[in-house]
Symmetry: D2
Subunit: 336 residues, 4 copies
């Protein structure tokens, strides 16, 4: 099996995960690391036996097969366009962009160039959530009637991140909206969203919310409920239940160990894994595996650009629902 040569753009928290996974991957050769901050790039390059270069240098190298984009959201579109022009396969962190039209241009660029475009919906690779999907696919739950998603971050992000994030729905809920589509197996016909700022008034002052409850319904009547919070005392709360005509499948949180302590207070298990780096560590490896498979085999189906756009359309509908108090039909998928 030939090795795939890659460049990672963005040496932040997520970029470092992808770089480390690629550096250890038997079928990958991490050739370049790119970051606007030269020091960060150099440090990550040193840790992963790669070279810190400019985007231009990396894209000009014909040996590079694929690029992993983990830089700031506003850079995604120009980078995807440049990668596509250079014929590189692209893995891009979510969201493709905060605006639907720009996100769709990402998809168009990859499509026109005939390169794979993967979007970093890591939860599709979480073994527990994947098992839910497998149970549905195997028909063991019957027809899916209700999907219930609980998704809570341990603490709010910094306020300047909140301001640039596009809001809770585009930043955080977008993962849950993708899960909703993936598990319902159909497009929601409408979205209803409620919420508020219960965690920190500064988030409200920044024009955002930190607590939300959302309902989506598909054409066949199946519904999905989502509950979100930017605060959670017991770890990163990431649970999904799928209720079908024949039964229920539920994915619980993971904990660091399987130990339980019994005392006069009762039986105590550990808090959930603290945040996404821990909870989704295996998912990050599996999604890179999957991307490498797609680079090698064009027919391989990815969580791709269209999924990124469709989740964004749902996030936009949620924002509009929150503003109006009514349920909102998502805008149609763009057609050129």
């Amino acid at each position: 099996m030939t090795t795939i040569d890659l460049c990672v753009i963005g040496a932040g928290r997520i970029g470092r995960i992808h770089a480390a996974n690629l550096a250890r991957h038997p079928e990958a050769n991490l050739r370049y690391v790119v970051d606007v901050d030269a020091d960060s790039a150099r440090r990550l390059a040193a840790e992963t036996a790669a070279e810190a270069v400019s985007v231009e240098h990396a894209l000009a190298d014909e040996a590079v097969d694929a690029v992993v984009i983990a830089s700031s959201t506003d850079t995604h579109l120009p980078l995807i366009e440049a990668c596509a022009a250079a014929g590189k396969a692209v893995f891009c962190e979510k969201p493709l962009d905060l605006a639907v039209d720009r996100a769709y241009r990402c998809v168009q660029a990859a499509s026109a160039a005939g390169v794979p475009l993967a979007v970093g919906f890591n939860r599709r690779y979480d073994p527990s959530f994947r098992r839910l999907r497998d149970e549905i696919a195997a028909g063991r739950l019957g027809s899916v009637e209700v999907v219930s998603i609980t998704s809570r971050d341990p603490a709010p992000p910094p306020l300047d991140y909140v301001r640039r994030s596009g809001g809770l729905f585009r930043d955080m809920t977008i993962h849950d909206l993708d899960m909703a589509r993936w598990l319902l197996g159909a497009e929601p016909e409408w979205v209803f969203a409620a919420g508020g700022s219960l965690v920190d008034p500064a988030i409200e002052a920044a024009g955002d919310i930190d607590t939300a409850a959302i309902i989506l319904q598909t054409g066949n009547g199946a519904v999905c409920q989502i509950t979100n919070s930017r605060r959670c005392s017991y770890g990163y709360d990431q649970r999904i239940e799928v209720f079908g005509s024949r039964g229920l499948a539920r994915a619980d949180n993971d904990t660091p160990t399987r130990v339980e302590i019994a005392s006069g207070d009762g039986f105590l298990r550990e808090p959930a894994l603290p945040f996404f780096l821990e909870r989704y560590s295996q998912a990050y490896r599996l999604e890179i595996d999957d991307f490498l498979r797609a680079v090698r085999d064009e027919s391989h189906r990815l969580a791709g650009g269209e999924d990124g756009v469709r989740a964004l359309l749902l996030a936009e509908a949620a924002a509009q629902s929150l503003a109006t108090g009514a349920r909102v039909r998502p805008a149609p998928y763009p057609r050129t």
Copy 2:
């Protein structure tokens, strides 16, 4: 402690539970049983060492302190009025009535006569749900932000019951709406409801739904989510999660035993208790205890008539929301 003399009206499924609990209660004397079907009344009277009589006979007996009403919903109002006129304390099964104005007349009748009126919101007496409320009251969860209620019946009721039931929201969800009020500790400002008929098309033909998802929000931004189904393969699914600023409390289903079987298929626990008679058997005893306490001590606070009316107002708002697709502010509590 003096014994309280009672009459049970209605010898159906619920009436029989209350009669059996009263027959065994050290502080109660079940004197009379009433039912429109004389045979049912006689059988239940025989089992409980009571006497089968007419309503008039029972209410005319000055020794009777209190009446438990478990007859069909349409009889609640005239029976409560008659009991109140006779100065008897009343425990009435939910719903007081399918119509708000008539339900409110029940409250007025009891209030005018100065007799206690309890409504059979049995879940308030379930030890697990009560513990959730105790955790909130003790401040261990901080401020309540999200209440999530899962409530699924094992199978749909007969169609003729569906037709007389007032619809899913008034018949089944009303319990969850009462839990929402009880755990949120504040009145919802609006209700949003979605749903459909996924279990049985005959339910749709009868003008009702069998699957629902509901969101309520209070003035301080706290939300409650409810998911309902008239079908559940793994028993009677009755779970509640209360998420607060300091943590989460969740009440899981109960099972017949604590046994787990491990084999090549995995680790198998028993299905949840099959239905309300099993799940709420202890709650039925505790709510009768509580009613007897109120009969003895007028200052004792009950799940009372006002709670019955308020839950009905929320059910009406849910029905209107389902019809319109918009969130609906519940009608105000009636004032004479």
Copy 3:
């Protein structure tokens, strides 16, 4: 169905449970209560609508079908002999006696008189432990290879009780030894016991131990492990695992509710039910049901006198093993 008339002898903790269960039982008529302390007898009689009388009076009454003996262990033999002579069926709390020969005389007395003799091995009626046995009987575990019993009291009994108790093995372990026989489905060929006084040196000074580990093995090679302690911070720890060639069945502790609290400390469930009154409340009702069935139907098989003697033989072997450090073959069942 004709009602069975009973007398309860012993108005202590266990006698009061049996009396209360009989007072509420639709097929029982608790006619008499007997206790050496007249006040205790009168109080219990008043609570259960029975009459406080002497043993002689109760046994002389031909209407009395059966007697429940819950008095001190040394009175069991003379009382059983008197009951048998009077033709009354007998339910006797464990142990029949601290000495094997006297315990066997209890069995002989009942047998000679042709009256049923039940021994209060309440755990056989615990729904979880009974389910283990049902799984074995149904063949779902294959052949039983290992039974593991965890049995811990929340706190040591008073020292004067310890001194009269016959020692840990005869007093506490005897229940576990009965479970071992019941679940192994065969008689142990030998017993090995280890232990010590880790909880309280006063227990050692009284000639007893408070912590024990025991192994028994049957002729077909199946083993049973028992672990005992007189101290347990997290409630009354009563668990059994049955490991068979096809799988495992395990019965966990029960807790007051199904609530779990999540906070920064983790996920906390309640301590186990505090002690035997709570854990085995349902078992106490079911064992009385079973006894009444046997009173009515002579062919009904009980946890009977022979079981009481055999468990005592194992306890004696355990005591001898602890003293010698070697494994000990239990003495054979007495034959007259």
Copy 4:
């Protein structure tokens, strides 16, 4: 931090795990792979970017700092002696040898040469079992009174492996005996062992057993129970409970995901991870980390040679106890 250069001897199942972990380790450089089967050596070398060489070649290379020995048990002693003579630090899979005197010569060789000698007691690095030890060390359990170890392989090994294995106690139980010492924090004063061949008569014919129950007791009265089987339908059953004066800590099995499926059969979780490669994958990484730390820092304390000898002494005592039916005091640790 300077990189540590290593050689792995033995390209079988365990050798491959260590080689793969070293190949990915940022602080290790896997230089050589050795195996008596040249093809196996070459294949593993190719996968790990190492070179397949002879033992002599590897030990003669001064750049090699440390050797990981995962070859057959009978080769351990000569290899450790050769490594020690060459001044290489040694990690050796358990057991050091099947005979105590030869195992002790391993320790002496390393000690005389002043090189670290680690023994592959992987369970000490399992995060759940390590947490038990941390709880003990932190005093949260009080004084340790009972350790209960459940350890069951999914299926018996091939018969020719059984014949060479030294018997169940030296081959399989040795891990549990090490856990016993590690968690009791004291040396057992005696061992009692029972068992038989319940899984496969061919194992008995080969002079071994497949099912065992063991008790150990330390001088302060604390006991450890071990239950072993060579068959387990629900995965690799590896659980430990530590009961102390203040509470209980228990480590449960791990499962592939956190998913539970509910249906009419009940609530089904997945079987335990299938065998040691899956269950202890993280432990294998952590034990190599720890070994590298010891190579770098001579004062670092390892699960070392003495632990290997002491576990073997307990296994010998267990074998003698099984043969005699009496409890057996382990032979003293050899002193030269």
